[in-house]
C-alpha cells in the first residue's frame, strides 16, 4: 500500500515539471489544472447567474406592474414588447422557462458543483489533480458549448423553449402549441444533451478522484464533509442524469421522427395528429427521476460547504460528524425514490401517490438531523462572522424555512390544493434555490484566498449578505400567502380570475424586493473582481482552518504541493480541543505531536501511527538509494 502511494507521488512530480511550459492557451483556456477549471466554471456560472437573475427581473416587472409601459425595453427585447408597450405573454413563458433552466442547471449544478468539486476535491484530499485532467477539461468545454447553444436560443425569432423548465410534452413536442417548441426547443434539447455529457464526465472524475487519489492517511472517516457531499452529489448525478438523457432522447424521437412515446389522441391547429398510445405521464416519471435527485445535486454541495464553513468559524468541531455522513447517505438513497411526489395530481394511480408520500416524508428525517447538528455546532462556539459564515447561517435559515413547507407539499392530500401554486414557488426557491445559492456564495468568500491569493473585502461582504438575506426573504416569504390563496404558477397576469384579483400590492412589493436583491449582487461582483487584483494579500491560512488546502503555497502551481503531498493523521474538525495551545490543529499534525490534547482513544492510535511513519521513512530512504 505504502509503496504504491509513494510511486504515485513520483509520477505526480514528473507531471509537476511540465507546468513551466504552460502558455496562455494551456494555462487559461484549455487548462487541465483542476484549479483553473474550477475558476472557469465559477466565472461562467456567475455569468449565467446574472443572466438568469436578469430574466427574473423582467418577469417580476410584468407580475408586479402589469400595467407598466415597457417600451424602454424594446431596444433589448424588440418584438417581444408589443405596440402598446406590454410584454408578450408567450415571451413571458419563455422567460420563466429559461430562468428555471439556467438557474437549476447552469448556475446551481455546473456553477456550484463544477466550481467547488473541482477546486476542493484534489486540494482537500491531498491529490495533485483530478484523476483525468483531460476529461475534466472536456467536461468544462462541453458545458461551455452547451451554454453557447442555450444562449443562442434566446435570440431566435420564435423564442427559446417556453414550456416551463420541466418541458412537459405535448406542449414541448408540438410547434403548433407554442412557438418556443420549434427551433428553441430543439436547441434546448441539444444544449441539455451536451450538458448531461459534461456532468457525467465531471461526475466520473470526482468519484474516481475521491476513491483513488486520497493522500496517505486520508481515510473516508477523515474526509472533510465537503468532500463527502461532493462525492455523493457526483454519485447521484451519475445515476440520474442518464435518465434525463433517455427522456430527452424519446422527446427528440417524438418531435422529429414521428414516434408516439409521449403523444396520444391530440387534436391541434385544426387537425388530428396520427400519434396514439403514448403517455405524457411517462415523460413526467422519467423527468422527475432526474428532476428530484437534481434538487439534491444542487443542495448537497451547498450543505457540504456550509458544514466546513460553520465548523471553522465556530471554532468548534462539526457536531455529529458521523450522523452528518449518515444523513447525507440517507438523502442520497432516498432522493431516488421520491420523484413521483411532483405528480400527485398528474393522473397517475393514487395508490402510487400514497407510496411516494410515505417515502417523501421519510427524507425529512435526515434533513432535520442536519439542521439540529448545525444548531448544536453553533451552540457554545466562538463565532467569527466572516461573510462566508454569515451566508452559511443564512443557508441554514432558508433550509429550515423551505424544508418545512416541503412537509405540506409532500403530503398528497394537502398537495391537491397547493400543487403548481406560488406556495411551491416559495418552497423550492427557499430550500433549493436560495439555500444553494448561499452555499455557493459562502464558498466563494471562504475559498477566495486560496483561489486568488488575496482576500475579499469583509465589509462589502457584510453589506452584500444583509441586503441579500433580507431581500430573499422579502421576495419569497410573501409568496407563501399568495400560494395559500391559490395563485397558480406561470401566470402572465392575475386579473382574469376573481379569486386571484387581489394582492397586487404584495406582488409589487415582491418585485421591488427582487430588483433590489438583484442589484445587491453587483456589490459582490465588484468585490470579486476588484479583490482578484487589488485585494489585501492573503495569509497562508486566513481562517485558521484544519483542512489540507491551507497547507499549499499561496499560489499553488499545477500539482498543488511543491514537495511531497502531506500525510493526514486526524479528522478535519479538531477545533478548540481541550489542552491544545491553539484553537485549531491541522489534519497534517500527527497525533504523536499533540500528546497534551489527545483523547484516550487517540492516545492508543499514536503507537500505530508511529509504526507507520517509521515504515514510510524506510521506503523513502530505499527509494532515494535507487535514484
Amino acid at each position: 500500500m505504502s509503496t504504491a502511494s509513494v510511486a504515485n507521488h513520483d509520477a505526480a512530480h514528473d507531471h509537476g515539471d511540465h507546468e513551466h511550459h504552460d502558455n496562455f492557451v494551456t494555462k487559461y483556456i484549455f487548462s487541465q489544472d483542476h484549479k483553473m477549471i474550477a475558476k472557469q466554471y465559477l466565472v461562467t456560472g456567475m455569468f449565467w447567474a446574472l443572466l438568469g437573475g436578469f430574466l427574473s427581473v423582467l418577469f417580476r416587472l410584468q407580475l408586479g406592474f402589469p400595467e407598466m409601459d415597457m417600451s424602454f425595453l424594446r431596444p433589448l427585447l424588440g418584438g417581444w414588447i408589443d405596440e402598446t408597450g406590454h410584454l408578450d405573454p408567450t415571451f413571458y413563458l419563455a422567460l420563466v422557462t429559461m430562468h428555471g433552466t439556467i438557474m437549476v442547471f447552469f448556475v446551481l449544478t455546473a456553477g456550484l458543483s463544477g466550481t467547488f468539486s473541482n477546486f476542493l476535491i484534489p486540494l482537500q484530499i491531498g491529490a495533485r489533480d483530478m484523476a483525468s485532467g483531460f476529461m475534466n477539461m472536456l467536461s468544462y468545454w462541453l458545458f461551455f458549448l452547451s451554454g453557447v447553444i442555450m444562449f443562442i436560443s434566446l435570440f431566435l425569432k420564435t423564442g427559446p423553449a417556453s414550456g416551463g423548465w420541466v418541458v412537459y410534452p405535448p406542449l414541448s413536442a408540438l410547434e403548433q402549441a407554442i412557438p418556443g417548441s420549434g427551433l428553441g426547443m430543439t436547441l434546448w434539447l441539444v444544449a441539455m444533451t451536451l450538458f448531461i455529457a459534461s456532468s457525467l464526465m465531471g461526475g466520473i472524475n470526482y468519484i474516481t478522484t475521491v476513491i483513488n487519489l486520497r493522500t496517505k492517511g486520508m481515510s473516508f472517516s477523515k474526509l472533510p464533509l465537503t468532500i463527502w457531499a461532493f462525492f455523493l452529489t457526483a454519485v447521484i448525478g451519475l445515476l440520474s442524469f442518464p435518465v434525463l438523457f433517455a427522456a430527452a432522447l424519446l422527446l427528440v424521437f417524438d418531435r422529429s421522427f414521428g414516434t408516439s412515446f409521449y403523444l396520444s389522441d391530440i387534436y391541434i391547429g385544426g387537425e388530428a395528429l396520427p400519434n396514439t398510445g403514448g403517455s405524457p405521464v411517462l415523460y413526467q416519471h422519467l423527468f422527475w427521476f432526474l428532476g428530484h435527485p437534481e434538487v439534491y445535486i444542487v443542495l448537497l454541495p451547498a450543505l457540504g460547504i456550509t458544514s466546513e464553513v460553520i465548523a471553522t468559524n465556530s471554532r468548534k468541531p462539526i457536531f455529529g460528524y458521523k450522523a452528518m455522513i449518515v444523513s447525507l447517505l440517507g438523502i442520497t438513497v432516498l432522493s431516488f425514490v421520491v420523484w413521483a411526489h411532483h405528480m400527485f395530481v398528474s393522473g397517475m394511480n393514487p395508490f402510487l401517490g400514497s407510496i411516494f408520500m410515505f417515502l417523501t416524508l421519510i427524507i425529512a428525517v435526515p434533513s432535520a438531523v442536519k439542521v439540529f447538528n448545525y444548531l448544536t455546532t453553533l451552540w457554545r462556539g466562538n463565532l467569527i462572522f466572516t461573510p462566508a459564515m454569515l451566508f452559511s447561517i443564512g443557508l441554514v435559515s432558508f433550509f429550515i424555512s423551505g424544508g418545512l413547507t416541503g412537509i405540506f407539499l409532500g403530503s398528497s392530500a394537502i398537495d391537491i390544493q397547493l400543487h403548481d401554486t406560488y406556495f411551491v414557488v416559495a418552497h423550492f426557491h427557499l430550500v433549493m434555490g436560495s439555500a444553494s445559492f448561499f452555499g455557493m456564495i459562502a464558498g466563494v468568500y471562504h475559498w477566495f484566498p486560496k483561489m486568488f491569493g488575496r482576500m475579499m473585502d469583509a465589509k462589502l461582504g457584510y453589506i452584500h449578505f444583509w441586503i441579500t438575506f433580507v431581500g430573499v426573504y422579502m421576495v419569497f416569504f410573501p409568496m407563501h400567502y399568495i400560494g395559500i390563496a391559490g395563485f397558480p404558477r406561470r401566470y402572465y397576469m392575475f386579473t382574469n380570475f376573481d379569486f386571484t384579483n387581489m394582492y397586487t400590492d404584495l406582488n409589487m412589493f415582491v418585485s421591488v424586493a427582487a430588483i433590489i436583491t438583484f442589484a445587491a449582487q453587483f456589490i459582490f461582483l465588484f468585490n470579486f473582481f476588484y479583490s482578484m487584483y487589488k485585494g489585501r494579500k492573503a495569509t497562508l491560512n486566513p481562517w485558521q482552518s484544519n483542512t489540507l488546502e491551507w497547507t499549499t503555497p499561496l499560489h499553488p502551481g499545477h500539482g498543488n504541493w511543491p514537495g511531497e503531498i502531506p500525510s493526514v493523521y486526524r479528522w478535519p474538525y479538531d477545533y478548540s480541543k481541550p489542552g491544545a495551545e491553539e484553537d485549531f490543529i491541522p489534519q497534517t499534525v500527527p497525533l504523536s505531536a499533540t500528546p497534551e490534547s489527545n483523547l484516550p482513544h487517540e492516545q492508543e492510535l499514536v503507537k500505530v501511527e508511529l509504526e507507520i511513519m517509521k515504515e514510510e521513512e524506510e521506503v523513502l530512504v530505499s527509494n532515494e538509494a535507487k535514484h
Binding site: I400, A485, Y573, S576
Partner: protein, 332 residues
C-alpha cells in the same frame, strides 16, 4: 455609475480600517454588529410575519366549499401548527446563538463533537411526528381518491388551448364515446354519435352541480396538458391527452350561499388551469354554479342535447341510430 459609487465607498472604508488597524484582528468590531443584526432580523421579521399573517388571514384563506376541502384544510393547518412551532424554535436558536456565542478572545469554544443520545432523540422525534402526519394525510388521500359513489353526477370537462368545454351525460346518465379523430368545427368534443349513449349528451357554458350530492368530474384534454383547478373546492387534477382522469367531490355551499358568506354579491366559483399550456394559460376560466338539488334537476331536464341544437351532427349515422336520434328530436 453603480460601480463607481461602490468603488468610492469601498476605498474610503478600506483606508479607515487600515488606519484603525482593525484588519489585523481575528474578529473586528463588525463581529458584534453582525451578531446584533441577527437579533434585529429575528425580532423584526418575526413581528412582520405575525402581523401580516393575522391581518391577511381572511384574504389568503379561501372559504371552503367541498366536503373533502374541510379535511385537507384541517390537515394543512395542523401541519402549519407543528411546522410553525419547529420554525420558531429553530430560528430563535439559529439567531440567538450568534449573538450569545460571538467571538471573544478570552473564551474557547467547547469541544463537543458528538452525543449519540441527542442524535437518536432528534432522529426519532421527527420520525414519530412525521409518521403521524403521513398516516392522517394518507387516510384523507385514500378517501378522496376512492372510486366515486354510484349516484355521483357525472360532468365531463375537456381542456384545450385555451378554454374548457363541458359535457353532461343527459337522461341516461352515461357519457357517449368520443374519439379525437371525430373532432370538427361543429363537434368540438369529438363525440361519437353512433354510440347511443351519446345521443342525449348535452353541453353547458357553465358547470352546474348540485349542492350536497357527489359530483364526478371526468377530465380530459384535447391538445396539451391542462389542469382543472377549482380553488374553493380544493380540487385539482391534470387533464391529459390520451389518458382520461377523474376527481369526485361533494360541494357543500351553493353559489348563492357563498355570496352571502363572502358578502360579495358577484361571487362565482371558478375553474383555472394550473398546468402550463401555452400563451393563454392565464386565462382559461370556467364558472361553476352550485345550486340546490331541486334546481339542479330542473335545470338538467331543460337542457338541449348536442343533436337537438345541431341536427346535422346525426347526419351520416346508420339508419337505426338515426331513428333513435329522430325520436329524441321529436320528443321536444
Amino acid at each position: 455609475m453603480i460601480f463607481s459609487i461602490i468603488w468610492m465607498v469601498y476605498r474610503i472604508q478600506t483606508l479607515v480600517s487600515v488606519v484603525k488597524g482593525s484588519d489585523k484582528k481575528v474578529a473586528s468590531g463588525s463581529n458584534k454588529v453582525n451578531a446584533i443584526l441577527f437579533l434585529v432580523f429575528l425580532v423584526g421579521t418575526g413581528i412582520l410575519m405575525f402581523w401580516y399573517s393575522i391581518k391577511e388571514f381572511h384574504n389568503y384563506q379561501l372559504p371552503i366549499a367541498s366536503e373533502h376541502g374541510v379535511v385537507t384544510d384541517r390537515l394543512f393547518w395542523v401541519s402549519m401548527a407543528i411546522t410553525g412551532v419547529v420554525f420558531l424554535i429553530t430560528h430563535v436558536l439559529l439567531f440567538v446563538f450568534p449573538y450569545k456565542y460571538q467571538y471573544s478572545e478570552k473564551r474557547k469554544a467547547s469541544f463537543y463533537p458528538d452525543n449519540n443520545k441527542l442524535e437518536v432523540i432528534w432522529t426519532i422525534v421527527p420520525g414519530i411526528v412525521l409518521a403521524g402526519l403521513v398516516i392522517s394525510g394518507w387516510m384523507a388521500w385514500s378517501d378522496i381518491t376512492a372510486p366515486a359513489p354510484e349516484n355521483a353526477h357525472t360532468v365531463e370537462i375537456m381542456g384545450y388551448q385555451f378554454a374548457w368545454e363541458v359535457r353532461y351525460p343527459g337522461k341516461d346518465n352515461v357519457l357517449g364515446d368520443y374519439d379525437y379523430r371525430l373532432i370538427t368545427a361543429t363537434n368540438s368534443h369529438g363525440i361519437d354519435f353512433s354510440d347511443k349513449n351519446a345521443i342525449d349528451d348535452f353541453p353547458s357554458p357553465v358547470v352546474v352541480i348540485p349542492k350536497g350530492e357527489p359530483v364526478l368530474f371526468k377530465i380530459r384534454a384535447r391538445d396539451v396538458l391542462h389542469s382543472v383547478f377549482a380553488p374553493h373546492m380544493r380540487l385539482k387534477m391534470d387533464a391529459v391527452p390520451g389518458m382520461p382522469t377523474r376527481f369526485w367531490f361533494v360541494p357543500t355551499k351553493t353559489t348563492a350561499e357563498m355570496r352571502e358568506e363572502t358578502g360579495n354579491p358577484e361571487f362565482q366559483y371558478e375553474i383555472a388551469c394550473t398546468e402550463i399550456c401555452g400563451r393563454g394559460h392565464f386565462s382559461m376560466r370556467k364558472i361553476i354554479e352550485v345550486v340546490e338539488p331541486e334546481a339542479y334537476q330542473k335545470w338538467y331536464a331543460e337542457q338541449k342535447s348536442f343533436i337537438q341544437m345541431n341536427p346535422s351532427l346525426a347526419a351520416g349515422l346508420p339508419s337505426e341510430k338515426k331513428e333513435v336520434a329522430e325520436i329524441q328530436l321529436s320528443e321536444k
